[in-house]
């Protein structure tokens, strides 16, 4: 034991040294304290009492969004708020009364606002009135010294050129909510705080990180009453503090054409629905509108409760983007896919004629054609042209649902297109496995029949339909739909360029596609085609009508007039078309909710959009086609006249003949 005791004692020297070092270290602390508190204490005291620094955020201007033709779709416009900083508020009653007089508010209202924000730090400004006029700004600025604590704050309001048009596509920005804070902090690894504006829908949300830019800050010397003071040279301790400039957000140039947006939106006037137009040969989205819509400007200015109420009380849900967030049964527009599958699988030949009566009987159930009398002998062209249900029932009996589903998926149906917009829905292409999983039941042949004409479980979005028809039109290339041509900085430097991207080359023979295209051409351009009356002039459109049943119907209901049914039970009208038929450039899909018919409700919208497109981008072609159409129609009317005369003549002859025979009888 003594040995160890010695060991401890032998360390005594080092222990004393450590003691000395401790004292020495604290002498440094002591000296520093002396320097700060005694030597420069007076000056620092003055700083702490008279001058304080206020850190002011400089909001980065949010990036702008341009149309494909460089038209500005979103402006940033400076607006002003009247604010009170409670920390600096002196003579509270008087200041509030004065401010109330300027803003035409009662002191009670102002007090209420102040009370509501009592929880936050006293140096943070409380907004009393938003978006005040320039006159009010001027009065507050001049009266400012009489009302310490009352100030004007500038903010940048984001205003959307075309208001409701394309509201869903552009989206809106609004203050980040308490619930969103943790989620977004994690997602973006960025320390958002309450009061920050973020994109909440559409491109504003999707491209938020690009558009946002980076806020800067500035240290402002303020006196004890919160008034900004100029820096006085020579005595400035704060000169060590650096400010930081804000970095403006990046700008977007879209693939979207503003005129087409306006045309599509206006063409949907009075309807609930949506329209998507895409470039057939690249996947560029040319137009994307949904109605009813909303005005995004209202959101960035701080929503009024009336406006918000009008949005959420509208049973048609204006906030929903019907082009990608809503899915519908594609109805007869899906027959194209069924026809392709049947041709490719060798179930029918393209010229093979099938007898199509008014119904098709499977087991004990009768499947009705939309036309009460049936269509008689039908080949694949006629099946599309006149949308012959029974033709498809018949081929569906030999078409396995898994095979059909495969073809549908090849054309991008039932999966998200991957368009750069938030909350896209995938739609649904059912197959055996899906049904087993979902319902625990086996697939029924009858369901294949319903699916073959695009009813039953099949669901697609308008954007998917547009892309699928674009793929048919361009000979089998499925593109990703894309909205943004390029992202560029304020000085014009391009950061990112987007180019067409293929999802896949669809493995379908040219022969099949040509047959389908011929059928789709006849739908619009031949007498008795379902969209014949909506063919337009000078656009040479091809396409397919569709009717999406909202609820299942008895045969009696099926033939009752759609317009006479209650609004919510009426069918959705769908039309998907492309043009020009044999040199396709643009594909358009339109769904009109409860519009009853694809032809009368949706086809005119497609026609309008394509007409606008042709006039704007291919005027010579448009003129040429118009000329040809005129001739063709002249010819048509001549033929029609001849046909009628012929008919009349036959009738006359018949009656004469019958008269003759009557005579003979007598």
């Amino acid at each position: 034991m003594f040995g160890e005791d010695d060991a401890v004692r032998s360390h005594k020297g080092r222990l004393d040294l450590i003691g000395n070092i401790v004292v020495l270290f604290f002498l440094v602390i002591f000296a520093r304290l002396w320097y700060l508190q005694i030597y420069s204490g007076k000056e620092l005291y003055r700083y702490s009492i008279e001058n304080t620094l206020r850190k002011e955020t400089i909001n980065a201007p949010r990036g702008m969004i341009f149309s494909r033709n460089n038209q500005l779709l979103i402006h940033n416009i400076p607006r002003f708020d009247a604010v009170i900083i409670p920390q600096y508020l002196k003579n509270k009653k008087e200041s509030i009364k004065k401010l109330g007089m300027i803003l035409k508010m009662t002191p009670e209202e102002i007090n209420k606002t102040l009370k509501k924000n009592r929880g936050q730090a006293r140096y943070r400004p409380v907004v009393i009135k938003k978006n005040i006029s320039r006159k009010e700004v001027a009065i507050i600025e001049t009266e400012n010294f009489k009302m310490p604590g009352v100030m004007v704050q500038t903010f940048i309001s984001r205003e959307y050129s075309d208001k409701e048009i394309g509201g869903h596509l552009l989206g809106y920005i609004s203050e980040i909510s308490q619930a969103q804070l943790p989620k977004y902090r994690k997602r973006d690894k960025f320390n958002y705080k309450l009061g920050d504006f973020i994109g909440q829908a559409g491109l504003e949300e999707q491209m938020d990180l690009q558009l946002r830019g980076e806020d800067g800050f500035e240290f402002v010397r303020v006196d004890a009453r919160g008034r900004v003071r100029k820096n006085i040279k020579g005595e400035d301790l704060f000169s060590e503090v650096r400010n930081k400039k804000s970095t403006p957000g990046n700008n977007l140039r879209l693939t979207v054409d503003r005129d087409l947006q306006i045309t599509a939106y206006n063409s949907l006037e009075g309807k609930v629905g949506s329209a998507v137009a895409v470039d057939v040969n690249s996947g560029e989205v040319l137009a994307m509108v949904s109605r009813p819509s909303f005005d995004p400007t209202q959101f960035s200015r701080g929503l009024t409760s009336e406006y918000w109420k009008s949005l959420i009380e509208n049973e048609n849900n204006p906030l929903r983007d019907r082009t990608i967030q809503e899915h519908y049964s594609p109805g007869s527009t899906f027959k194209t896919i069924t026809a392709i599958a049947a041709l490719e699988e060798g179930i029918v030949k393209k010229d093979q004629v099938i007898q199509c009566g008014p119904t098709f009987k499977l087991g004990r159930r009768r499947y009705h054609d939309w036309k009460r009398g049936g269509h008689g002998p039908t080949d694949v062209y006629k099946s599309l042209k006149r949308s012959v249900d029974v033709y498809f029932y018949k081929i569906a009996t030999q078409l396995d649902i898994d095979v059909l589903a495969d073809y549908a998926r090849k054309f991008g149906l039932g999966t998200k297109t991957g368009v750069l917009l938030p909350r896209e829905t995938s739609g649904l292409i059912p197959d055996r496995e899906w049904k087993k999983k979902r319902f625990g039941e086996e697939w029924q042949l009858g369901e294949t029949l319903s699916c073959s004409i695009g009813q039953s479980y099949i669901l697609t979005t308008p954007l998917q339909l547009a892309m699928a028809y674009a793929a048919i039109a361009n000979g089998g290339t499925l593109y990703y739909p894309y909205l943004i041509k390029e992202i560029f900085k304020n000085d014009g430097e391009v950061i990112q360029k987007f180019s067409p991207k293929e999802v896949s080359k669809i493995n379908v023979s040219k022969d099949t596609l040509d047959a389908i295209k011929k059928g789709l051409y006849q739908v619009v351009n031949e007498r008795k085609g379902t969209a014949w009356w909506y063919r337009g002039v000078g656009i040479r459109m091809a396409g397919k009508t569709g009717t999406s049943q909202v609820k299942s119907m008895t045969s009696k209901e099926l033939f009752s007039k759609c317009e006479e049914m209650p609004y919510r039970d009426r069918h959705h009208g769908i039309f998907v078309g492309y043009a020009p038929a044999y040199d396709p450039k643009i594909a358009v899909a339109v769904v009109v909710e409860h519009g009853c018919h694809g032809s009368s409700a949706a086809a005119p919208v497609v026609r309008d959009v394509i007409t606008k497109y042709m006039k704007k981008y291919h005027p010579e072609l448009h003129a040429k086609y118009a000329e040809e159409d005129k001739k063709k129609m002249k010819q048509f009317w001549l033929e029609e006249k001849a046909r009628k005369e012929q008919l009349k003549k036959e009738q006359d002859e018949n009656s004469e003949a019958s008269a003759g025979s009557a005579q003979e009888d007598t």
Partner: protein, 370 residues
Amino acid sequence: MRFNAAGLLDIFKRYDFSFFGIATAIFIIGILNLYSATSGSPNMAGLYKTQIVYFCVALFVGMAVSFLGPKNFYRYSYMFYFFNIFLLVVVLFMGHKGMGAQRWLVIGPIRFQPSEVMKMSAVLCLARWWSKHDTDRELGIKELIIPFGISFVPALLIILEPDLGTGLLILLIFFVMAFYRKLKWKTLMIIIAIGTISGALMYKFGLKDYQRRRILTFIDPTADARGSGYNAIQSKIAIGSGQFWGKGWTKSTQASLNYLPENHTDFVFSIFNEEHGFVGAMILISLYIVLFFRFLWLASSVTRLFDAVVAVGLMSIFFWHTFINMGMVMGLMPVVGLPLPLMSYGGSSLVTFGICCGIATSLSNSRNLF
């Protein structure tokens, strides 16, 4: 019954109250200061109550430790150390994230930072090693390899969390203890040289952005782009504006305006200085120095080398925290985020210091047993 009462009296007689006494005195100053520092902002106003609860826990745990025989510290020191290393590894992989670093371990209602306890485990482990090895010679590089490993492994794990301050602190503690255990002067110089070079290398390659920024800010506040130089300046203003007598309790202008960030944790000392001035600071610093010298006295009066090395190690835990915290608040060194012992808000650190006092008290009590 009679025996027990006599036993209790006996324990009471030779119980060394000095460590807990000084610590409590500092804590009382701390709680008054904390009350003042947090009263300005509504969402922190109740923190001082929580702190009192933490202190009660720390006192209880510390007292409990003080009744353990010093032989236990020796016997379990290695086990303790390796278990703690294990906890550090666990925390690295599945710890609870707070403030951008993975430092917390959550077990039911208890959350604590293994890195806090690691300081003590390292001290005990090093003390055991040095009380059995090389007791008869001065320490050169060769003798330092294993002890350095003992402190470097946990330091590295802690730096990875990342908590640079605590990691380096363990190396500093190791350094003081090695010095006590007769580190050769030549070796000392070499270590300083290596430390400088590896520090420079680490700055260049091993630091996180915010850590590098803090150091840059310290070297040149104007170079700072994010405004942490602003904190340093505000802290300096707070301290200086206290002048000789201070502005008076709860009269701080800097704290109540929320100019000082973290004024309840790392920056308590600047509020204290603002309100109590040079005089107050002298009194507080004196209390700390008395505490340090009590540890050093303990190291000289125990009979076993293990106990002595432990006492020096515990002293250096307190010392480095105090010195570094005061230094960074006054702009003498970069902001590394070490709390001021017994003054800063926080349960983990309070409990750590409570246990330190408990160990010291136990060692002190056992001096007279033989």
